[in-house]
């Protein structure tokens, strides 16, 4: 069944344009590191030294992991993970 991981637009360049990829169940930070093997560069955009970056929000089944167990949050088969930059929008025109 695996884990659905939604990738925000600014990071889709790293996943070959895919807005949804598959992750392995387990600790969130491990899931990210595993994804990084297939999509190099992804891990360092959302995490630093094993911790989720302050301005990156990650939701597991719509819950902000900051209020679960942060990077240690256990992600199960069938869960949905969303990565959302905290400050909406990027470069102005």
């Amino acid at each position: 069944m695996a884990v659905k991981v939604r990738i925000p637009t600014p990071l889709q360049r790293l996943t070959g344009g895919k807005e949804e990829v598959e992750g392995k169940p387990g600790k969130l930070i491990d899931l990210i590191m595993e994804l990084d093997k297939e999509y190099p560069g992804l891990a360092e955009r959302v995490s630093e030294n094993g911790k989720i970056r302050r301005f990156v929000n990650i939701y597991v089944n719509e819950e902000d992991v900051r209020f679960l167990n942060a990077e240690e949050t256990e992600v199960k088969d069938g869960d949905e993970v969303s990565i959302v930059p905290a400050i909406a929008g990027g470069r102005g025109i």
Binding site: F55, I87, A88, G92
Partner: protein, 409 residues
Amino acid sequence: MGFVTGLKCRECGRQYDIEPIYVCEFCFGPLEAVYDYRKIKKAISRKKIEKRDENLWRYRELLPIDKEPQAGLYSGFTPLVKADNLGRELGLKELYIKDDTVAHPTFSFKDRVVAVALTKAKEFGFDTVACASTGNLAHSVSAQGAKAGFKRFIFIPATLEESKITSSLIFEPHLVAVDGNYDEVNRLCSEIANRYRWAFVNINIRPFYAEGSKTIGFEVAEQLGWKAPDNIVVPCASGSLLTKIWKAFKELKEVGLLKTADTRVFAAQALGCNPIVTAIKNDTDVIRPIKPETIAKSLAIGNPADGYYAYAAVKESGGYGEDVTDDEIVEGMKLLARTEGIFAETAGGVTVAVTKKLVQQGYINRNEVTVICVTGNGLKTREALEGRMASPIYIKPHIDAFEEALKRI
């Protein structure tokens, strides 16, 4: 001649050119203007500043513009009122009110940040300015934008106080009332900012805009005779004002205008919207967003963009934070009015009421120099006082009627 060398991500330190951008492309952190303090130190002096006009551009070397100011030419340098009556009531020996109720031209501290934002928008060549606002910013951008000749799109929550809506409409901008709270308006504006080449003062111009708040700190220090106060109490919405006041004192020391800057910074919020104060009290750097519910609508930001930085500034300065109920807010407004003759908006009531609590709890020492930041005029939030005021004394036009009434006072 400007002293900004570029923009820098506050989180990962990546550097960017001076452009209307506000998010780090790498880690999504917020960008901040970077100054060449060594050059500024050589260019600036107390005497030089003292000779300048009494407006916020007095401190222009520490503001992020490259050429001449183009807005807010009469803004800033509001009174620092020595508040002996209020001080006596609160038990404080030396208390001051930084009184932005009389800010020019729109009676709130937003005139400072807007003056800087509009000047920068001109430098970038924008013809349209915009903002997401809880009210005071809408008013300031509508007004200053009109004078500066900009097309204006102003986005507000539809439930904003009537007086604030009128205050913006008189300047005939495009005023868009959104069916949502401020956080939702803000999110919508980020999407719009991505699509249209407009200068959203608190979004894509934010790194420049936010710097305007430092002028409160600069002015307080100069008005105290080039001295930083021991304590300063600052109301928090996004948290930006508090972080910039703290930064201002540190910069004054950096460029040699102050010898020391050991100010304790205190955060003031309403109980019905207290994410920053909660983080401070729990000593955590994780801000838990809430849904605001308070009469202090100008502070009703449930997901404060600078929440973490406000927490960090308070911690670094050795300060603290408190929150107050709606009843305490109104009491704070009345206390300030009857002791010092200043009619502040709800945010001012919050800050006075919080100061009272902080003194009672021993966080503010009675013998120290304390400044309360009053950020907006009470005429702008009259709705908050409905049903909470005493009545006038009604009499017939006869002297007997008056004397009868006098007996009952």
